[in-house]
Symmetry: C2
Subunit: 504 residues, 2 copies
Amino acid sequence: MNIAYERYKELLCRLADVQYSIAILNWDLETYMPPKGAESRAQQISTLSGIAHNLSTSEELGDLLFKLESDTSLDEIQQKNIYHSLKSYRLNKKYSQAFVEELSRAISEAFQAWQKAKETNNFSLYAPKLEKLVRLKREECTIIGFTGHPYDALLDQYEPGALTADLSILFADVRSQLVAFVKQIAAQPQNEDGFMFLHYDKQKQWDFGLELLTQMGYDFEAGRQDISSHPFTTNFGPKDVRVTTRIAEDNLNEMIWSCIHEGGHALYEQGLPYSEYGLPSGEYISLGIHESQSRLWENNVGRNLPYWKHNLARLKEFFPEPLKNVQPEAFFKAINKVRPSLIRTNADELTYHFHILIRFEIEKALIEGSIEVKDLPALWNSKYKEYLGLDVPSDSQGVLQDIHWSHGSFGYFPTYSLGSFYAAQFYNKAVQEIPTLELEIEKGNMKPLLNWLREHIHRHGKRYTAEELCQHICGEKLNFKYFMNYAQKKYGELYKLEKIVKKA
Amino acid sequence: MNIAYERYKELLCRLADVQYSIAILNWDLETYMPPKGAESRAQQISTLSGIAHNLSTSEELGDLLFKLESDTSLDEIQQKNIYHSLKSYRLNKKYSQAFVEELSRAISEAFQAWQKAKETNNFSLYAPKLEKLVRLKREECTIIGFTGHPYDALLDQYEPGALTADLSILFADVRSQLVAFVKQIAAQPQNEDGFMFLHYDKQKQWDFGLELLTQMGYDFEAGRQDISSHPFTTNFGPKDVRVTTRIAEDNLNEMIWSCIHEGGHALYEQGLPYSEYGLPSGEYISLGIHESQSRLWENNVGRNLPYWKHNLARLKEFFPEPLKNVQPEAFFKAINKVRPSLIRTNADELTYHFHILIRFEIEKALIEGSIEVKDLPALWNSKYKEYLGLDVPSDSQGVLQDIHWSHGSFGYFPTYSLGSFYAAQFYNKAVQEIPTLELEIEKGNMKPLLNWLREHIHRHGKRYTAEELCQHICGEKLNFKYFMNYAQKKYGELYKLEKIVKKA
């Protein structure tokens, strides 16, 4: 037994216990907390966060990590754990107390200003706070350090190893290929989806959603679903992984896509090895890979015909009236309408990436200092015109729509697109390796897919980087062509496009 | 501004943040946690408990407290805070890491053994673990220190200032007066309560319970009710005070009494001063005083006629069928049946105290070493025969019924009786001071009572000890005669007793 390694594991479990406790406090805050509890809760979370920070930067942990870094008796997984922990440790140590507090204050102020600005459609209320926050985030890039673009430093916190240069190439492909493709679609007659907006009883939707989660393989003994205003997945270890959903009685889409999407996230967490609790080997790789799991289930599985060939019949048992004349093919069309729209979170799976593209371009420019906060509304609006062909009627529906920047989360958005692109590539591989995959889905049997994901992705924790994982599974790194192929095949048929554009 | 005092406040708020976080984790564990989450949750709670212990015994806190102890510039409330904090600090410092761990292990083992022993009705499975635990609790008495009886050391943790000698006198009164009185009642014909056990729909009971809580003045913006297998109240500061209930469709009593009882606890917590978060001045006095608040609402208010003169009509709207011929007077009789029974938690408000009396006598003897664990079943059964006139058919329904000892909670039980006795004395005073109190209750107006409790009890936090509070409110210390007077008046009428015994 390696005493130093055992002690390192103890310290990491302790840290995870505190971090998961914070997650429990946050889960409760979003689901059940009574309104007057908010102030004390913020304080409780802040105190636990401070404790977690102290644990993550303790001298004892540092000494152990430096010692274990050169311990050649460790096996591969142990060495990777030390690598990741040391990286986190060094990163955490770079932040001075003063900087953390200043950033935390700036975020708090920016968030409050953003809420007011969005409510009153007044960007100028937000601008000075956002300016300060951008200045601090740029300072943070220097604190963290970078070799290429300063934005790399921020990206790395969400998508370790991601580089601005690579993403610029990727998003150039998105722009050139997807913009053209969506224009082709826009020229076609639109599919009918009015029946999705009839009356759908809340409780019945809830029950159907639980069935979908169960069918996916979500373990309700190790998780639960609740209602929150914004759906999310959280976990307190791999044996307590919770999802939330929201239900609109006049829009069947809300519940269905949030259930499947969060279910996909949750299956990843439930599939992480419990024996590695608190260690990097028990944690997800990156936000992009996490998102690949939600998007794969949501889009590649859930917005596909085989899924509804099986599940529509059950849905019709819940809602015989509004769906009485709807066949799986019509349902498939209705859930795959492509239409440029203003709000990212309501976008279809193709135009969604224009929203991300725009945010990526803006973030990159803000962080490198080539644009200023005051330029944002005009820039935003011109990009929405250029990529989506839309006039933005107000900043509330434009540059103020997302919470992310007010939270200081620069570098987060690109992981949404990465998730979809990884999902397409992984799903393509899964279908190749399991030729009967979609036939099984058509029978309501999701096990082959889940087993494949468990085997190739979930169980590995952070053993591979995102790039290594992709290489390991697909024999090549992330390649946008799989997403374009998927899009062209699916939407080419759905919209009867005469000529399928192939550029990738 | 007193810098040392401000820093002391900061440290105590920090400690409270961690302690309330533990409470949140426990609340979730009892209400919503999926079963497989139990193992990690136990670990998370244990880690936070260790952190709380470290904070509560930190050198910085100690130095501040010793300094502030002699700071004459502090006002009365500040001085009391320092007094209480120093007492806790000194107590916490007495425990060695080794003892805490040994005790914690012994409790864990005793608890598991108790569960099995109760399930299989086999006291011998539990006996050796309980023996070890009793040995450690006796050792704990020495660690804590005591001047009179060793049991004083344990009592003080639940009911600061309570002494075995005083409780012995009190419970001697209980025995002499209440045993005789209950025998008088037992000789009378029993009241009819069959309608309480018809079918009562769960959701309707739930809705009615929420109305009762609202009527009491429970603030649902600063709390919520959920379901758990054992009803409890918990809080994460005075602005997030939660209750749980349980509902049996074949027994209307379950929900009604748990709702009102927990509501009484919760009103106390919601009435503590928010500005004193984390400080003794923001905390409840003792378990006995806490219980006085639940018992006052449950028994003195809820099991009284004026309450049902108002609320029965509403209850009948929920349940017209099973209650169709029931008048308030008949309902009042049904909810006040006195009948000796085996299980403490199902006991009526009079015979309940025999259950406590028995536990008090046994605990005292165990801790002083005059009896041994192996004597427990026979002793238990003989006391149930003596005080309640019952033969105990099995240890599962006898000495194994309560969880408390397996948790190491010796000294806890007496606070249940203290709660009822304080409640009777406080309620008597409230009626004296507000002559229209019961008329208002009969109108469904609980405000005068709640205001009185807020004014005299809730807002003071730990400003007074239990004894001082009672003196302050009633002009005398705890006096059992108020409970006996209440019992004799109420049950004398209910059971048409010819001669009301007056001994107190």
